[in-house]
Symmetry: C2
Subunit: 363 residues, 2 copies
Amino acid sequence: MRKIGISEIEDIATGAALLGAGGGGDPYVGKLVAIGAVQECGPVTLLDPEEVPDDALIIPIAMMGAPTVLAEKAIGGMEYKRLYDMVSKFFGQEIYAFMPMEAGGVNSMLPIAAAARLGLPLVDVDGMGRAFPELQMVTFTIGGIKATPMALTDEKGNSCIFETITNKWTEELARAVTMSCGASVSVSLYPMNGKQMKEFGVHGIVTRSEKLGRAIRTVKDCPDRVPEEAFLEFTEGFKLFKGKISDVLRETRAGFNFGKVVLDGIGEYKGRSAYVEFQNENLTAAVDGRILATTPDLISLVDTETFIPVTTDALKYGKRVLVVGLKCFHLWRTEKGLELVGPRYFGVDTDYIPVEERCKGGN
Amino acid sequence: MRKIGISEIEDIATGAALLGAGGGGDPYVGKLVAIGAVQECGPVTLLDPEEVPDDALIIPIAMMGAPTVLAEKAIGGMEYKRLYDMVSKFFGQEIYAFMPMEAGGVNSMLPIAAAARLGLPLVDVDGMGRAFPELQMVTFTIGGIKATPMALTDEKGNSCIFETITNKWTEELARAVTMSCGASVSVSLYPMNGKQMKEFGVHGIVTRSEKLGRAIRTVKDCPDRVPEEAFLEFTEGFKLFKGKISDVLRETRAGFNFGKVVLDGIGEYKGRSAYVEFQNENLTAAVDGRILATTPDLISLVDTETFIPVTTDALKYGKRVLVVGLKCFHLWRTEKGLELVGPRYFGVDTDYIPVEERCKGGN
């Protein structure tokens, strides 16, 4: 158990944006919401998963929809209280703690804001260890845990609770309501007990985000290290490419941001080219036509000088980026995990091969 | 209090189709559902509104979506029990009785099926006295009663409960989920107590439907009467036109059936022409370009020989129909009522003038 305040939030936001793998929204917007809540209501207690009783009711808090819309619509302030009340009434049980569902610039931050505003603890765990675009794409689905009852509310005060026969149906119905509410709502889904959270959750993800964020902030302060090497070592990242963005193709379809970013090599990659394809999050990275990493491994683009993560929303012509691959959470590499989030689910016609295998022998 | 069984259901379905004003779906499909339930579970107790205690919890049962889809998807059998459980749990109170929300071929029938299957009584009341296309279009909206908590379930077992800030938002969100569930779901909305039901409901609508249905069935059995005259007298209908359908224009937009039926006069109307415009239900009837009736008054087309109502779904070239106007429930003629369901709400650029005024001096 420890407290997280404003300086921790700054680092968590940066680190979670790296784990967002291009998605998860702008960490700046998420940070504003979390810092605002902590300034008003005080710091948040972060619990280790093992500190949570097996029968405690734990609910994840997240936003659903387009993070870019969140920046314009903001959050009304009463959403977390309404979500708490709906889920608590449904189960006839008090809620013990909140948790994040994914790592990303926005959804790592909102649970902190909720915990601050309601005076509840936050658990150091999530259901992805990265960001993914659809709500059934969580480790809890592998564990057979249902997404419902799922509570949803908008900033105006409309709300609903879903119960569905599959997590894919939850996605379908909640997505429809989200679009009707203006493409950005607050949700609580996958309510679970402490035992389930401990068995299937990605432990320590908040702390990992914070450490990654701190590393990014301080990597250039080591006088005896090449910053890029220090960055790769600390993040345990595989260097996939370094280049200048020469083209960005985007398409918004069914509420998702699809696209492709094309890179011209710089430095030791001069004369070579690469591309990264995405659906909210980065799906594949290929260098000279050869795929070097695919979902569910993380593909992140970071600024070559500051190592600040660049989300797909922020991709711009001329920007210089380092493309890194990070190993995903082990459950994603199982057969069930790959059915949910492997390359073929996203329409990418290739088998999943772990990033460390694909990069063997260098690129 | 009285019992309704199969023969009553037959008449109620026919009469409700007349009150459906072109909408409300195919009475044949509705009848099958209600008769099936009564055959299996026994007849239903029909309560007079005055027999219901003021503090009893009463919930309407209806389908939302396209009645034509219902015919293909059918009803799974567990929907009413799920709706009962969801609403009852929400209020922490047993449900005293079901009621219909509108008069129409389908939505007059489903509450009978629900009452039979759950062994609950049905109240002889509804919220329209006819059919309308959108869910905020009920007398209870005039009474300031909220549509939510609204429970919704599909035949597969997906369900949700909405709470919204306005009844228009309920329509918006429930419509989105309905479309995602395949355009036909079972719902319970406007939960209310006995007092509210008595104050704003359309009393005696089930009995009125039954009487109209019986009249249609027996009108030709009076040896000393011209059937058409007897039909108009019994229904208190205004004869607007008689003609042969020469054209039907249809367009499906945003989940509604829009269209226009054009008629060439027959009998005393020979040489004249008329049209009826509709959005699920008939909105306006005009003869030789002069409007003779508009929503919220009822415009119904019936077969010239059998007087069986013809819904907008069943309009076909060459069919001979009598166009009748019926006075709507008095609350629809108030300022608040006309805001909800007057011609201008539906984009018809004319003031509301009661059908009996428009028809003064004959046509």
